[in-house]
């Protein structure tokens, strides 16, 4: 076997090992029986009907979507502000210090960041719950937005800023008419990434949540308390929704958005 064939085999074997387990979720969701696993037994959509009418999943899904959109908005504003401020600093050291602080949440192991956030909300007297999760997710996603905005801002042609100045635009008008339109691919990319990261997040939601679980927290709880194929139906629906969302983000990439890979820090 040539080296090329061997390496290509490794690639496809790895892809198979990463993708196949997810296919198993969809496969086992199609059973009519009560048991998660193989053999499947008679097939049907019974568990999808059960999942779609389960109020717990509906509530968790709504909460997860609201948190994803809310935390992504906060993260984009905070990250953009940080990225633009960093770009405006004349001292390289000051810029490096600000960006180092900005990416700090990315470098921490997930469980430690979650615990630190739990202590922080306790310290400021905020109860665990949706607000706390929203803040936690926003803080986790701010580094992505800051990095992407900082990189995109560096490519802004200075002629555009000079032109705005010549025409008498103040700082806010320049921001609105020149800088934000130029940043928009980075803003949408960072926003999409932040929303997906929030929707997927387990560890921060687990520590910062009150009585209402987000979707991943609810699923983990149900997984630990015993399996029914209802979880498979819910998980399959999430996979389909995520697939569609990724396709949208991938299309946005054609517009010049930075990244096509999910959260790596966990």
């Amino acid at each position: 076997m040539t080296r090329h064939r061997l390496l290509s085999l490794v690639y496809w074997a790895a892809f198979g090992s990463f993708a196949l387990p997810l296919v198993l979720i969809a496969l086992t969701s199609l059973t009519q029986g009560d048991i998660v696993g193989f053999p499947l037994g008679p097939l049907g959509l019974h568990w999808y009907r059960a999942a779609l009418s389960d109020p717990d999943y509906r509530r968790a899904f709504t909460l997860s979507v609201v948190l994803a959109l809310g935390s992504a908005s906060v993260a984009v504003v905070a990250g953009t502000w940080i990225g633009l401020a960093a770009a405006s600093l004349r001292s390289r050291w000051a810029e490096a210090a600000l960006m180092a602080g900005a990416v700090l949440p990315l470098g921490m192991p997930g469980v430690i960041h979650a615990v630190a956030l739990r202590i922080a909300i306790q310290t400021i007297g905020l109860e665990p719950g949706p607000t706390a999760i929203l803040l936690g997710h926003a803080i986790h996603a701010t580094p992505y937005a800051a990095i992407m905005v900082r990189a995109r801002r560096a490519t802004l042609p200075t002629e555009q800023l000079e032109a705005a100045q010549v025409f008498g635009a103040g700082p806010l008008a320049t921001l609105r008419l020149v800088i934000v339109p130029w940043l928009s691919p980075a803003l949408w990319g960072a926003g999409g990434l932040a929303a997906l990261t929030s929707f997927d997040d387990f560890i921060r939601s687990f520590f910062l949540g009150g009585y209402d679980p987000t979707l991943p927290v609810l699923i983990l709880g149900r997984l630990r308390s015993g399996l029914t194929p209802e979880i498979n139906a819910v998980a399959t629906l999430i996979l389909v929704v995520m697939g569609l969302a990724c396709a949208l983000v991938a299309r946005a990439r054609h517009l010049g958005v930075g990244t096509l890979t999910p959260d790596v820090a966990g």
């Binding site: 390496l7 290509s8 490794v10 690639y11 790895a14 990463f18 993708a19 196949l20 387990p21 997810l22 198993l24 979720i25 998660v36 696993g37 193989f38 053999p39 905070a78 502000w81 633009l84 401020a85 960093a86 405006s88 900005a102 700090l104 921490m108 192991p109 997930g110 469980v111 430690i112 615990v115 630190a116 739990r118 202590i119 922080a120 306790q122 310290t123 926003a138 803080i139 701010t142 700082p171 997927d200 997040d201 387990f202 560890i203 687990f206 979707l215 699923i219 983990l220 997984l223 630990r224 979880i231 999430i238 995520m242 990724c246 096509l260 890979t261 999910p262 790596v264 820090a265 966990g266």
Partner: protein
């Protein structure tokens, strides 16, 4: 920009970073040094290192930390063994227009929540899971083979959680490396393994070091894999810490201190690894 506007423009992001990014760590440090938590109103908080001392007093905690460090190292090593040939393949054997798509395809399963990925592994490895079903239908086993609830399953879950933190830096390093260096060595009669060991690997050691450090640190903080795949027999420090935050807040100083112990041990090992790998890289240059 006027002075006040300029101040506002800079003060808001600096405040966000200080309060939201650094603040939680400071709060954790403060709690880890408290003698008793919560501090009753009207009482001056007393500080001590007793939470840190508790770690050294109980061998169970130390074993759980060591186990975590070992697992995270093994996860980083396993991820490197898989990621390097893949990154090499995509950067060297795939046409430049198709590289991004190949990388995105491999990364696609990682867009799903880590909880769902771990659930998928349960379906693969459980007694009634896909692997046992295949083994049974091939007649290789009559009774189900216990694959879940052990160190092996947790390791697989960790790699499945953090694999991208290895793939991306390694790929970036290989993609930057000019092809003609290895080609020149080939002209000088170096075989493929010699070229890999003496040229390609040392010249991509920066990416490998970054990948190992990122993957190792991420694997240390993984919670879902040991929680769902580990059963009771695999004690990891992430779970130990999480449990201390579970019920009464009286155990919080211990949990906070353990968080810093994990961070310190992890950073020290990560720094050591980065140093060793960069030495090897420089020695080759």
């Amino acid at each position: 920009m006027t002075g006040f506007r300029r101040f506002l423009f800079l003060a808001v992001p600096v405040a966000w970073v200080a309060v939201a990014h650094i603040g939680p760590l400071l709060a954790m440090a403060w709690i880890s040094l408290l003698k008793a938590f919560p501090v009753p109103p009207g009482v001056t908080p007393a500080f001590s290192l007793s939470a840190y001392a508790e770690f050294f007093r109980r061998s169970g905690y130390q074993q759980s930390l060591l186990h975590s460090l070992g697992l995270a190292l093994a996860a980083a090593a396993a991820a490197l063994l898989v990621a390097y040939p893949i990154a090499y393949y995509v950067s060297r054997h795939v046409g430049p227009t198709k590289r991004g798509r190949r990388l995105a395809l491999l990364a696609a399963p990682f867009w799903t929540s880590e909880v769902l990925r771990m659930f998928a592994l349960v379906l693969l490895m459980a007694n009634r899971g896909a692997m046992n079903a295949v083994l049974r239908s091939l007649g290789l086993t009559a009774a189900p083979v216990p694959l879940l609830y052990g160190t092996g399953a947790v390791l697989a879950g960790m790699v499945y959680t953090v694999f991208l933190s290895m793939l991306l830096p390694v790929y970036a390093a290989l993609d930057r490396l000019p092809h003609d260096v290895a080609e020149a060595a080939a002209l000088d009669g170096a075989g493929p393994w010699e070229r890999l060991w003496h040229i390609t690997l040392p010249l991509t050691s920066g990416g490998v070091a970054a990948g190992i450090v990122l993957t190792f640190l991420a694997a240390l903080g993984v919670f879902a894999a040991p929680a769902l795949l580990g059963g009771a027999g695999v004690p990891v420090f992430a779970i130990t810490i999480a449990d201390l935050f579970g019920a009464a807040s009286g155990r919080w100083p211990l949990g906070a201190a353990f968080g810093f112990i994990l961070l310190a041990a992890g950073s020290a090992i990560a720094a050591l690894l980065a140093l060793l790998l960069s030495r090897r890289g420089h020695a080759a240059e």
